[in-house]
Every structure is written in structure tokens, then in C-alpha cells.
Amino acid sequence: MKMTPELKKAKENMEPGKITSSGFLGEDTREIVDIIEKDEEIFKNLDLNFDEVCEKLQYYLEEGKKGLGEPITVDGKYTVKIDEARGFLPCPFEDGIFRKINATLINNENNEKIIYSELSLHLLKKHHFCQGYGSEFRIDPLIIKKIL
């Protein structure tokens, strides 16, 4: 299937080394639109809403910042640790730049863990893009369901 020039550029930007050292696609060889479509389906089946999920994850990220780099317990149930680095990351779809802020969120009750950044939240909310299978920063709907 022919891709639009924007999608082709986005796929190029997602390669390892273009924006982050391991890229956004992980081991996945599918086209971006296929990844998005499949994940949208899974979200629907699990009864998850992209905007709600993003809001919750953003809330934990903000609370986590209060730890100033140390793990901090939020709402009694979650441990959040924020790592910050200098510089910005551009979105692969070329529609914005984001600070390099990574959050590690652990649900203390079932020990499920997820790592995400401000950029991955933007990708999730605006583009419904969870990142490819195998990517360290993939926001997998199954894990989200267990964590949130």
C-alpha cells in the first residue's frame, strides 16, 4: 500500500538513531497505520479510551515529578519515578517537540510496570500510536488494563 509522504517521513524518523537510540518500532515490521489500527481495535475490545488513559498517565507523571528524581508513592497504590535529561525530542510525525521526561509507573498491588515519556503520551493521545511490539516504551493496551 502506498504511504503518504508524511507517513513515510514518520516511519523514517522512528528508525533507531533518528530520534532515540532504539527507535519507536521495536521488533515490529508492520506499517505504522497497521500498528495503529490493530491497537485501536484492542483498545475498543478492552473498553479503554485513549483520552482517559492519557489523562491518568499524565496525572501520575505530574505527581511523580514531586519526587525530584526519587521514586514516590502516588495515591497509595502506585510508585512513580521520573528521570529527566537535557534537550528535546521531536515527534516522529513532526508536529511538536517534547522534553525528555521519562516516567516508570509500577502498580504496587500486581507489580505491573510500564515506562513512558511525554512524547509517548503525545503519540498515544494525538496519533493513537502505542509504538511497535518490542519497543521499550510501548504502551501496550493489555498492560494498561492491568495497571490502571
Binding site: T4, P5, E6
Partner: protein, 197 residues
């Protein structure tokens, strides 16, 4: 052999009475998928008109001066497609250089036009009906405009229908096809007014 029709009559006929989309049902796939969005429909309609006019004229020249002299008219299907693909490619390159804004606006639609059956259809009609060069150009231009008109109309209707309570099973392609059917029926009202051949 060449039908005695005034090119202007042909022009209007190809837009209304013999609309390439609604009377001949050619170019359906992008018609259905792109009419979700009015802006894209506009861009696509513009691109299709452009390409249709140029390729019809070019194909006429290639047919008359290359295929007929060598007695290989049966190759018209392959040759027309080759010409269409080349024209689209060249147009894409030139537009990218000359007007970045237009290139961004058209986006992926330019390469997608190569496989739009309406383009090949118009070229074949032109050949079947033995139009001369002027008639071919007017026919190509008119058909393009007719396609553009139809897709804009459908995009506008779909925008309204989106807000209406459509039964879940018919949402999307279902209701779209029904709408197209109604539009086609409406255009039948034009038939007989002007003739294309």
C-alpha cells in the same frame, strides 16, 4: 468516423449527462474513501481533473501516431497505463519543485491517481468513440470536472449525514453506497439532454 459533436456540448455532457462517476461508475474506490473529508476531496478532485485532461490528450497523440501506424492498437491498454503513470510521476516532481504549498495540499493523492480507473476509462472512451484531439481534450477536462463535482457533492452530503442517526450496521460504507445510489438516480434525470457519441 469521428462523431460530429460540438466540443462544448461534449464538455457539458461529460459533466452532467454522462458523469464518469455517477453514470459510468468509474473511479469509485477513492470516491468512497476520500469523500470523508471535504478538504481532501477538493484536493483530489483538482488533481484528477489535471491528470485526466493531460493524459487524455497525450494518449490520443500516442494512439494516433504510434499505435495505429504500427498496427498494434490492441496494446492500447498497456500503453495508456504506461503513459498515465509517467505523466503522474513527472507532474509530482514538477509540482514539488514549483509550488510546495500545492504539493503539500495534494499529498498522497497524486500518486494514487495512477490507479484511478476513471483516468484509464476516459482514455479508452476517447479511443472507442473516435474523438478528434479537440474533442478529446474537452471530454477529458469535462470528465475531470464531473468527477470533482461528484466527490465534492458526496463529501458535503456525508458531512451532514454524519450528524444524523444512522443505524449502526449502515454507518460508513453502507450509508455511503446508498447515498451514491441516490445521487446516480438523480443524475439519470439529465440523460437524454445532451449526447456524448
Amino acid at each position: 468516423m469521428t462523431p460530429d459533436i460540438n466540443p462544448f456540448v461534449l464538455f457539458f455532457a461529460s459533466i452532467f449527462t454522462s458523469n464518469i462517476l455517477l453514470s459510468n461508475f468509474l473511479g469509485m474506490c477513492s470516491f468512497i474513501s476520500v469523500s470523508k473529508d471535504i478538504k481532501s476531496s477538493n484536493g483530489l478532485g483538482m488533481a484528477v481533473t489535471f491528470v485526466m485532461t493531460i493524459t487524455t490528450a497525450l494518449n490520443w497523440i500516442v494512439y494516433k501516431y504510434l499505435l495505429i501506424p504500427f498496427n498494434i492498437e490492441y496494446l492500447k491498454y498497456i500503453v495508456f497505463i504506461i503513459v498515465i503513470a509517467a505523466v503522474v510521476q513527472i507532474l509530482e516532481m514538477i509540482i514539488e519543485r514549483v509550488s510546495m504549498n500545492l504539493y503539500m495540499a495534494l499529498g498522497i493523492f497524486l500518486p494514487l491517481i495512477t490507479v484511478n480507473c476513471a483516468i484509464l476509462g476516459v482514455a479508452l472512451f476517447m479511443q472507442l468513440r473516435n474523438y478528434n484531439l479537440i474533442q478529446s481534450v474537452f471530454f477529458g477536462f469535462g470528465s475531470g470536472l464531473g468527477w470533482w463535482l461528484a466527490i465534492m457533492a458526496l463529501a458535503a452530503i456525508r458531512k451532514k449525514v454524519d450528524k444524523a442517526p444512522v443505524p449502526a450496521a449502515l454507518k460508513g460504507p453502507g450509508i455511503t453506497l446508498i447515498i451514491i445510489g441516490f445521487m446516480a438516480m438523480a443524475f439519470i434525470g439529465f440523460s437524454g439532454m445532451l449526447s456524448v457519441q
